[in-house]
Amino acid sequence: MDQILLQILNGLDKGSAYALIALGLTLIFGTLGVVNFAHGALFMIGAFCAVTLQRILNISTVTTDPTKTDFLGNPATIKTPVVETWFGPEMGASIIDWSVPLAILFAIPIMAAVGFIMERGLIKHFYKRPHADQILVTFGLAIVLQEVIKAFYGANPIPTPAPEAFRGSFDFGTYLGYEANAIIYPYWRMVYFAFSAVIIAAVFAFLQFTTFGMVVRAGMADRETVGLLGINIDKRFTIMFAIAACVAGLAGVMYAPINSPNYHMGMDFLVLSFVVVVVGGMGSLPGAVLAGFMLGILEAFASMNQVKAIFPGIDQIIIYLVAIIIILTRPRGLMGRRGVMEE
């Protein structure tokens, strides 16, 4: 039982990452009708926003310390981060410590700009092209983006730790009457779960309660009519794309402490997030969220030793297996609409 609870926690956490990426993906698909294979790259760029901010905060003044030597025997250098000079050592250190949460503020304008440029510069010209062309050009873009990141940051993962206060883990077990250490869960993962819940709620609220959101929802349902109403749908689409990019980017920023960002993390998530979107039903926002959590939990369960003992290798294929079964039994995914992407 404690094992199951533990895996549900894990599943929720994995699921919230899947759900966030899939949400942005399906938002773009639903409003713009574009299949964006570069969405994983947006997630990756988000994570690298956290890396970049960490680097910016660590910009240092360099002095030499003649009493020590470096590996070549030259006088060692001492680096003092500029923020520590400005705000005093303690304050400066805690700013650096909190670089990941701060990166949220840093990432929003960057991701919005990336989204804006992508939509205006490339995606816009592909609205009328076949879905296959959209998939392929964004796939090409994803390769280019990740290679650019690799050229600047290298191929190795870069550690981006969470603030000191959120390191370590919380013992649920003792509260629930199990023995100590039975159900432990890292604080930062709980933060991640809460954060994604907030983002998901914010996106839904935005679409539900603002005029802008209503127009976009109408556009998702029937694009032509909305266009005929004289509403400048193009501008709204650009904004929607930027929002979707922000959602993916923020998912990436907050994910950075969970796994050190590397340049191919986007591709690693891409296929999974597509499976999530399709299982949820193309163009369905609640479907994407539901499928994200569902697949996350199933994946967590499949990696339990008890399950693996019965089906060796099941954790390697569970997601795909579930996807196949769902697509075959529910032709439009869990909550998809009729006629979308079937031709």
Binding site: D2, Q3, L6, Q7, L9, N10, G11, D13, K14, A17, K68, D70, F71, L72, G73, A76, K150, G154, A155, N156, P157, I158, P159, T160, P161, R167, G168, S169, N181, A182, I184, Y185, P186, W188, R189, P257, I258, N259, S260, N262, H264, M265, D268, F269, E299, A300, S303, M304, N305, K308, D315, Q316
Partner: protein
């Protein structure tokens, strides 16, 4: 650079060598008169540096390339000579190899056995390389080693740690200067015993592919021999990025040590996840919970950041070693590139030097001559102390470093500290050890 092969003289030279007409069927060779594959006929000899330039190990590959370029520079008489000056053999004089200038071609293995073989083939078939070297994973090393055996060129393995490379997949034309899973385990076990005692319960997480399996087998056998109990061995998919669902059940399993048989990105993520779950702050069975990473790489440890602190593992070589060879190499490399070399860089530099020296001593580039020169060869001065290239399996035997993540690093390179240098005598094994059984070395193949 101001020389170009597109000069008139180059053309004349080339046409002077070439005669028209059909040659007899040959394998991979450019001329039927050659005694072996790609016998160098001009004033230069070409080596093939086949390293991962794309994919997750690209940074390791880039470091290997730097070391190769440095080695070629030294062989051709440039730079400060590096470890050529400390090497016990004094055959090399900075005059190339056998008087031929050393040239090289590079390729991308992509860390895929297919792509690595394709790249190596193009070096052999097109560029006339007499030796292929490099790589950053065992699958690639074994695949390329097989190719070199068939093609009749020498393979000087780069970073490969699986027992199989010089075990069941060993080949006469292949040599490995890197240590292996068994040696890691043999070196680590006594250190672990003295640190954590002999009454421990170990939980293994293992990357689900060839290297992971041999690493797990080795370390489990070594720790069980000193009294540890193995609670569970769990395989994790290679493509995993989030290990939480594998790590979460560890604490509750009664284990008090977690062994991460992971490398590269897997290691970074699983270690980061394990520390996140607070495993190291826990007390289980009345003992502190410990994590062990049998194979460390400094480049990868950097990706895990502060999480490596206090965690033990083994490594082939580390730049902080204070022997003359290591110091010369670090100085030479650091001066050229501005940072200390990685173990991958050290390995491939040594491999290039060893090949060059063997050719020099044998007086030929013929693979059979090189094999003869390297088999049973004992040398010193390339870091790691006295080293033996064993004739039976072409595995190098040298000291193994047990290292620990440093608590207070003084620079971004200063991540590991050497805890113990385990002498060769403790890590050597019989050539027919069961973990290495099942293959045959065969005989050297000169190609033609």
């Amino acid at each position: 650079m101001s020389t170009s092969n597109l000069t008139r003289r180059g053309l004349i030279k080339n046409s002077a060598i070439a005669g028209a007409g059909f040659a007899a069927p040959t394998i991979f060779t450019a001329s039927s008169a050659a005694a072996y594959t790609n016998e160098p006929t001009g004033g230069s000899v070409t080596l093939g540096f086949n390293v991962p330039q794309s994919g997750p190990y690209a940074d390791e590959g880039a470091d290997e390339l730097r070391a190769y370029e440095l080695a070629v520079e030294h062989l051709n008489g440039g730079g400060d000579g590096g470890m050529m000056n400390t090497f016990s053999s004094k055959e090399l004089t900075g005059n190339g190899i056998l008087g031929k200038k050393v040239e090289f071609v590079t390729g991308d293995t992509q860390t895929k056995s297919d792509a690595a073989r394709a790249s190596a083939k193009s070096m052999i078939e097109k560029d006339g390389a007499v030796m292929i070297t490099g790589g950053s994973s065992s699958g690639v090393a074994i695949a390329v080693q097989g190719l070199c055996q068939e093609a009749g060129v020498i393979f000087m393995a780069g970073l490969t740690h699986s027992n199989d490379t010089t075990g069941k997949d060993k080949k006469a034309n292949g040599f490995r200067h890197f240590f292996n899973g068994y040696m890691s385990a043999a070196a680590l076990a006594p250190v672990l015993e003295s640190l954590y005692g002999s009454d421990r319960n170990a939980y293994h997480l293992t990357a689900d592919y060839t290297w992971g399996w041999t690493q797990e087998e080795s370390i489990a056998a070594a720790t069980e021999a000193m009294g540890w109990n193995t609670v569970n061995k769990v395989r994790t998919p290679l493509a995993s990025t989030d290990f939480s669902s594998y790590i979460a059940p560890v604490l509750n399993s009664g284990a008090d040590v977690l062994v991460l048989n992971h490398y590269g990105g897997n290691m970074v993520n699983s270690l980061t996840n394990a520390v996140q779950f607070g495993l190291r702050d826990k007390i289980v069975n009345g003992k502190n919970f410990e994590i062990v990473v049998p194979l460390y790489s400094r480049l990868m440890a950097k990706g895990a950041g502060a999480n490596v602190k206090g965690i033990h593992g083994s490594t082939n070589w580390h730049w902080s070693l204070q022997d003359e060879g290591s110091k010369a190499f670090v100085k030479s490399f650091g001066t050229k590139y501005g940072f200390p070399p990685s173990q991958a860089a050290h390995t491939v530099y040594c491999q290039t030097m060893l090949y060059a020296d063997a050719a020099q001593r044998a007086g030929t580039f013929n693979p059979c001559g090189i094999v003869e020169a390297l088999e049973g060869y004992e040398f010193d001065g390339l870091g790691n102390g006295k080293t033996l290239y064993r004739a039976d399996d072409h595995q190098c035997f040298k000291d193994v470093l047990v290292v620990r993540g440093k608590e207070n690093p003084t620079s971004e390179f200063d991540l590991l500290e050497v805890v113990e240098v385990t002498p060769t005598s403790q890590v050597i094994y019989e050539a027919d050890h069961p973990m290495f059984a099942g293959g045959a070395l065969g005989s050297c193949n000169p190609g033609a």
